[in-house]
Symmetry: C2
Amino acid sequence: MAEDDVVFVGSKPVMNYVLAVVTQFNGGAKEVKILARGRAISRAVDVAEVSRARFLLDVSVKNIQISTEVLNTDRGETNVSAIEILLGK
Amino acid sequence: MAEDDVVFVGSKPVMNYVLAVVTQFNGGAKEVKILARGRAISRAVDVAEVSRARFLLDVSVKNIQISTEVLNTDRGETNVSAIEILLGK
């Protein structure tokens, strides 16, 4: 998978990220990885579901992983959950 | 899996649900399913990660599924994403 076949979901509207996913598949990608941390995890699931159900009917969820990442902040280390959703044809 | 080996995550603090998960495993459950919809999805991932990493070191994530559910509200049908995280020994 090329490095740019990754969509990192943050706080923008869901459709911004859906557009990014659809664009990558239409550009020839066979798989696209959707990544998110913390509260953006819910939005990442929305992005995967909307992309799959509404725009990319030949694409399905291949794998989902969750993990805990350690972030260094001003106030010391803090843990944040992360998700990785792999969509593929 | 018995019907009560399910923890439905809503808007309470993460540790409330972690306690429910840990209690079910300590009560003999071999698998516990964590369910959530919409914005609670991020919290469900936190519940799974905290349960696994801090309290149940012999438990791992067996499967994760995402889906779209149709809710009937006053203003008509609306779609909401859902997640199902299966933890098991």
